[in-house]
Amino acid sequence: MSDPRLAVDFCGLKFHTPLVLLSGCVGFGEEYTRVEGFSNRDAGAVCLKGTTGTARPGNAPHRVCETPGGMLNAIGLQNPGVDQVISSILPQLDFEETRFIANVSGSTLEEYEEVTRKFDDSPVDAIEINISCPNVKEGGVAFGNDPDMSARVVEICRKATDKPLITKLSPNQTDIAYNAKRCIEAGTDGLAVINTLMGMAIDIESRSPVIGNNQGGLSGPAIKPIALLKVHQVYQVAREHSIPIIGQGGITSAEDALEFLIAGASVVGIGTALFYDPLICSKINAGILDYLECQQLAEVGQITGSLRLNESSSPKCGG
């Protein structure tokens, strides 16, 4: 059993650790259990692969490539469609081990609504709506970068489910805090901050983008400082409404996780870091516990939003 000091209440759900395995990194929840020593119990929740109304084949190869301090991906929402996920995949998951969160994507408002409604009538513990997938031609980021559209997606999904609703925000927009505010007003219960940043890599021999989709989402340690600032900015809005945040973007250690918690996240997402250390969750949990002991804190929740800003800071000037 995990240490009770790591337990967090997130949107009314008890997570037994503050770690969330991120959508798109862990398939439909069972894939990483192939690795000896890995357990879904080391995570408070597992976000399932992005799911659409009907099956999608995804993008042509190459879908991933390494970049300095990170990687690009453009999978393109490969998934078997919501009906197949509910009928064939969810029954294979062990809900005793962790919380499973469905991840909803779509090309139209109707598709978001339909997929959310179907997951509402399924055993998943919560629903995350991905209004920020950068890798499909329509939907996704097109909704996520427009606060009005973001709010409309949240509103329509809110009506389609009574389960906790989490909205995953795009960093590829001007004012993420304003978008967060609109999503909160539209009824989201939680926010995931941030999705990947858009990027490109070019093969200088062929003069073509390495990624089949030409552009992809950048993840990994390279985006951590950006993600941290976005969490800090969103927290200023979210705390007024007691809306919890999943802080995510380049976390590879307990120290990284603690930074996100201090910045305002209630729980933290682990994604790309799993690719080079599939057993990283138990190490991050142990590191957080060490910190709690050193700081003489009783539980993880006490860290959230404990940031002490420097008084001389000039927030609008980076130079």
């Binding site: 990194c25 398939g27 192939r34 000896e36 879908r63 991933v64 990687m71 999978i75 062990d94 080079y276």
Partner: protein
């Protein structure tokens, strides 16, 4: 436990480098102490290696040999980019995080498996051959390379009907195991067939009795054009064929779908993951 058959099939080990030898053509053979991987590895499977602690992505590399008793695995790789250059700089006594064994192995069904390996696609074929020595199978191995072979070829002690005169060079390890082997290259090398691996394979197939030919299955790993030519050859002789594919890979355990490729299935085209659905696929499903 709802997935007992796949759970815990892959091990994460800090593997000590026991030896690391460089060969001409930027080729390297790496021996790692990875006992849990060695005990489970099957021909066609690969390991996902951390080439450098600062690199966010691992590199998938085929297993060439595995010794369960002594706990080591051998890998052959070619330095092609920054990642493999970092790997090439690692020395004996250092440790590499090793995730494996991963993937669907070759499933050898026929009495006479014809094993064709090209370039860094040679390793799985060596592994298959070793697994079949002293078995009821009668494997034949054809290896191709445009760089010098990463071993000192020697005249084979095994005579093979149908092989062009003078094509006598073989990989010593295979010869010692009693597995017949011949080599092919576009480059001029003594005792090596100057041409494609598939030309040499065609010579060998044509020399077989009709009945024996029906007992052949093709197994291949190598560059994409070579695999396509091997599948064409299999089609020509109406023989089964399995091929091992490569693709850029992130997680290596089926989680990210980053390595998916299109294959034909009974239900039409589908994207399948090279890491856990492959790397070995039915050749006709890949090239049709």
């Amino acid at each position: 436990m709802k997935h007992p058959q796949q759970r815990n099939s892959i091990c994460l080990e800090d593997a000590e480098i026991l030896s690391h030898h460089a060969y001409p053509g930027d080729q390297h053979i790496l021996r790692l102490q990875a006992p849990r991987c060695a005990a489970r590895a099957k021909p066609g499977q690969f390991v996902h290696l951390t080439v450098d602690p600062q690199r966010p992505m691992r590199r998938p590399i085929s297993i060439m040999r595995a010794c369960a008793d002594d706990g080591w695995i051998d890998l052959l790789y070619k330095r092609v980019g920054e990642g493999t250059a970092l790997l090439a700089a690692r020395t004996t006594g250092e440790y590499l995080s090793t995730l494996g064994p991963i993937g669907q192995p070759f499933r050898i069904k026929e009495k006479r498996p014809l094993l064709i390996g090209g370039g860094v696609g040679m390793p799985p074929m060596v592994f298959v051959a070793e697994s079949l020595k002293n078995s009821e199978h009668q494997p034949m191995v054809i290896l191709g390379s445009e760089a010098p072979f990463p071993f000192t070829a020697r005249p084979s002690s095994i005579l093979l009907p149908g092989i062009p005169d003078g094509v006598i060079a073989a990989m010593p390890l295979l010869d010692d195991w009693g597995v017949p082997c011949r080599l092919a290259s576009q480059q001029q090398m003594p005792g090596v067939h100057q041409g494609y691996v598939t030309d040499l394979a065609r010579h060998w197939l044509n020399a077989l009795e009709a009945q024996a030919r029906q007992e052949v299955g093709l197994y291949a790993c190598g560059p994409h054009p070579m695999l396509e030519a091997v599948v064409e050859l299999a089609r020509e002789f109406a023989l089964p064929v399995q091929v091992s594919l490569e693709e850029f890979m992130a997680c290596g355990v089926g989680g990210c779908a980053g390595c998916s490729v299109e294959v034909q299935t009974e239900n039409g085209p589908a994207m399948q993951r090279v890491c856990v659905d492959g790397p070995v696929f039915d050749g006709y499903q890949v090239f049709n």
